[in-house]
């Protein structure tokens, strides 16, 4: 009985607290944050979630929200599991006055699950650099956005980089490239592109799947030791990254011939291997570090007030910054949506318009205190992928720092665009989708956005 009364008391307190905070009259923007702070993918999920949370806290604390409307970040734990992801989606989609405005599941598996659902419910899905690559074609996936670049762009850029290092694309003939990938929709994304490029350039592709969660890779690396590929590419996530880098070190594989996707290139992934990880490469679309004005604001308005989501000394890590950019682009899309609608009371459909007309010029980035953090982007009706440019960064184990070793490289758009078109059309046919009418077709739009981005594609070191 006592326990029952205690629970009842707690319930009353919670209810009272709810009515007090809900009593503010201003319009509140609901941003559902699907996070995973538990399970084998938590090492990567946590910094990203913290970056997102801290940016919105900063917006609320410093600016009083977006154009005066506060952002209510509703976290929901998915454990990187698709079923729990769907549960979180259903639970949060009608939350608050605005309803869920945009989803970012940070999981390719959950993305595949949600694409049909968000399309039916009319909520935009922003899968920043992950998820379904062919969603780049906005005429067939009007509700899905995957800028600034996709897995296929990355695969193509990696091959380009390898070609450069080998002394020309014609030198790729007869080379052996291994792909170590998470055996899921995510890890399988680049295979088709790499196969197509293998046909074009004549290298051999060795596909090595690693099963969830990726703690067991002895056999994979034994095979690499035996086959001696010239280069190893990796599509890994969570615990799999650390294990792969440690295994690579233990068989003495040269780290500067080992390139991870941008989800396999954060501090958490290389630290466990210690000094042996020195020279490891990975793709990226932004800089690391906390030297930007926005980070100083985060220290001042968020961490000094003890409202930070994570630890102060981890602000500025690669994945933290990625969460920050995800939040910044989302916030700007919301602002754009308000501008289009002429009111702060935006709904999910307005945010879709905001995302579609999002333009992040270098000047705007400077105003946000993020100058040089990432490339400028311009999204359009047909092109939901943006420029598709990718840079490569290298880990320096002594200074514990990531630094860019290349400029932003443009992928082999001839190959990638054709693949995107083919896949998107197949999807449209399977699901009886009539393409949306856009002013430009996909290829034109893509060209325009690549040009736009190249004007200021210089990222601070």
């Amino acid at each position: 009985m006592k326990l029952g009364k205690f629970c009842l008391g707690l319930g009353v307190v919670a209810l009272a607290a709810g009515t007090i905070t809900g009593g503010a009259s201003a319009y509140e923007l609901t941003y559902p944050s699907l996070v995973y702070r538990t399970g084998p993918y938590a090492p990567n999920g946590i910094p990203f979630a913290n970056g997102v949370m801290d940016y919105f806290t900063l917006i609320n604390e410093r600016d009083g929200g977006i154009e005066g409307a506060k952002v209510n970040v509703v976290e929901c734990e998915t454990a990187y599991n698709t079923q729990q992801g769907v549960e979180c989606y259903e639970k949060t989609k009608n939350e608050g006055e605005s309803g869920a405005l945009v989803y970012q599941p940070l999981s390719t598996g959950i993305t595949y699950q949600l694409i049909p659902k968000v399309t039916a419910d009319g909520i935009p899905l922003f899968t920043m650099g992950y998820g379904r690559t062919s969603a780049a074609d906005g005429t067939i996936f009007p509700w899905v956005f995957n800028f600034p670049a996709t897995y296929w762009d990355q695969a193509s850029v990696f091959v380009k980089y390898i070609g450069e290092k080998e002394g020309g694309m014609d030198k790729l003939k007869g080379k052996k490239i291994a792909l170590v990938y998470h055996n899921s929709a995510y890890g399988k994304e680049p295979i088709r592109t790499l196969q197509k490029l293998a046909e074009k350039h004549g290298y051999d592709l060795l596909e090595l799947p690693v099963d969830h969660p990726g703690q067991e890779q002895k056999a994979t690396w034994l095979q690499i030791r035996r086959e001696r590929p010239d280069w190893v590419l990796m599509w890994g996530w969570g615990v799999m990254n650390q294990v792969a880098i440690k295994e690579a070190a233990s068989i003495g594989y040269p780290m500067d011939h080992f390139i991870g996707v941008w989800w396999s290139g954060s501090e958490n992934d290389v630290m466990p291997a210690g000094a042996q990880a020195d020279g490891y490469l990975s793709g990226t679309f932004h800089a690391a570090g906390d030297q930007f004005p926005a980070h100083q604001d985060i220290y001042k308005y968020v961490y000094d007030k003890d409202m930070g989501a994570g630890e102060r000394d981890r602000v500025g890590e690669v994945l933290y910054n990625r969460g920050l950019i995800a939040a910044a682009w989302t916030a700007e899309a919301m602002r754009k949506a308000m501008e289009i609608k002429g009111s702060v009371e935006i709904k999910a459909a307005d945010v879709r318009k905001g995302l579609e007309q999002l333009e992040m010029s270098p000047e705007r980035m400077k105003e946000l205190g993020l100058e040089g953090l990432t490339v400028p982007i311009e999204i359009s009706c047909a092109d939901h992928e943006g420029p598709g440019t990718v840079a490569i960064q290298q880990w320096n184990a002594k200074d514990k720092k990531w630094s860019l070793v290349t400029d932003f490289m443009t992928p082999d758009q001839e190959v990638v665009n054709a693949l995107i078109k083919e896949d998107a059309e197949a999807y449209a046919k399977e699901n009886n989708i009539t393409p949306v009418d856009c002013p430009m077709d996909f290829e034109e739009a893509k060209k325009a956005s690549t040009e736009y981005s190249s004007q200021g594609a210089k990222v601070a070191e």
Binding site: L10, G11, A14, A17, V35, R37, T38, E75, C76, E77, A79, N81, T82, Q83, V86, E87, E90, K91, K93, T108, G109, Y112, Q113, P116, K117, T119, A120, R132, T133, S134, N183, S184, A185, Y186, K188, E189, I191, R192, P209, D211, H212, D423, E430, N431, N432
Partner: protein, 358 residues
């Protein structure tokens, strides 16, 4: 006092053979079914359907299937995830190859395909028992998931190995695909589960069920009294896989809508269903539902209670939830090793004497 058998005479064989011999039970069951079919659909929303009712119904179906094999016939299986995958991929292939095929037929055929695969992997059970059989079915689990990853024909050459369900209609009503009305999906699964739970109940209390139980209790004695192990064991594998296959088809087509083999049908699914059966009660139909409810609904209840009710951070709530589930499983297994079904029976016996126990 309210719940008693005294004075309730059975005047015919039919009455004696009824599933629910006590009128109260019968009435309660009818009320429950009427509420489930005619009441719940009106108050449903997406969250209730997607997060609570569909998982409950579909896991119940899978638990029913495994309970037939493990609970009634005594053959331990760790291949449930793999068999569900067979059901799901069979449904996917049927739906994409024959778009005109009625969806009810798709689910039944997916069950039949799985029954065939299940019988094949049940063959070792004629020679090996217990833990060794568990290992043999574990091989089925890994082999099947590997197969669906490896052979592009199964996923129609999609770029990522994902399968996603095409929309299908029954009497003009959409039952699969994202535009499905929540109540349509719910009613479809509910109807399937009710019909097949009734069928299972009748199979297990008939000749076939008795044959299975004889094998379970002592296979040599069963053989001596004329039960053929080959028929008994393989029929148990077939019927069990049929149910699990249908559960897999519903899981993929109605609930998830898209799936990839490694995550959706991994070994953890096999363990989950086995735990449902053990916690619910081996060898009981009601136990399958109770076990599924316990393992599927309690985490969601805990999560919602802790996050929305108590106001914990989602991550803390998750840790508390994992710990609580573990503790509760151990608690129930210590307090009642025969599962929740046995607890319910004890409660009923107590209710018969209440309020004048002696």
């Amino acid at each position: 006092m309210f719940y008693r058998e005294a004075g309730q005479f059975k005047g015919s064989y039919a009455a004696d053979q009824a599933i629910f011999t006590i009128p109260q039970d019968r009435v309660a069951m009818i009320v429950l079914l009427v509420a489930a079919f005619a009441g719940v659909p009106f108050i449903l929303n997406d969250y209730w359907t997607q997060a609570i009712l569909l998982p409950f119904l579909i896991w119940s179906m899978a638990a029913l299937g495994l309970n037939i094999l493990t609970g009634y016939c005594g053959q331990v299986s760790l291949g449930t995830g793999g068999f569900m995958a067979v059901g799901a991929y069979a449904a996917f292939k049927l739906m994409t190859a024959f778009p005109e095929l009625n969806f009810i037929a798709v689910v039944l055929l997916a069950g039949l395909v799985t029954a065939g695969v299940g019988m094949f992997f049940g063959l070792p059970s004629l020679r090996i028992k217990g833990f060794y059989l568990a290992v043999a079915t574990l091989a089925a689990q890994f082999f099947l998931v590997w197969l669906f990853n490896k052979v592009p024909w199964f996923y129609n050459n999609s770029a990522t190995g994902q399968i996603s369900v095409p929309p299908s209609y029954l009497w003009g009503l959409q039952v699969t695909g994202p535009e499905t009305k929540p109540w349509a999906a719910y009613l479809f699964c509910l109807a399937f589960v009710c019909v097949f739970a009734l069928a299972a109940k009748n199979i297990v209390r008939g000749r076939i069920g008795r044959m299975w139980m004889a094998i379970r209790d002592m296979d040599i004695a069963a053989e001596l009294i004329g039960v053929r192990p080959l028929v008994a064991k393989l029929s148990a594998f077939a019927v069990s896989s049929f149910y699990i296959g249908m559960a897999g088809a519903l899981y993929f087509a109605v609930w998830l809508g898209a799936a990839e083999p490694t995550e959706a049908f991994g070994i953890n699914i096999s363990f989950l269903v086995l735990f449902m059966v053990i916690i619910g009660g081996l060898g009981s139909i009601l136990g399958s539902f109770l076990g599924a409810g316990f393992l599927v609904l309690l985490p969601i209840l805990l999560k919602n209670g802790l996050v929305d009710g108590v106001g914990l951070l989602p991550v803390t709530a998750k840790h508390v939830e994992i710990a609580t589930m573990g503790v509760l499983i151990i608690f129930f297994l210590i307090v009642e090793p025969h599962g929740l079904n046995r607890l319910w029976q004890i409660a009923k016996e107590k209710l018969r004497l209440w309020p004048f126990p002696y």
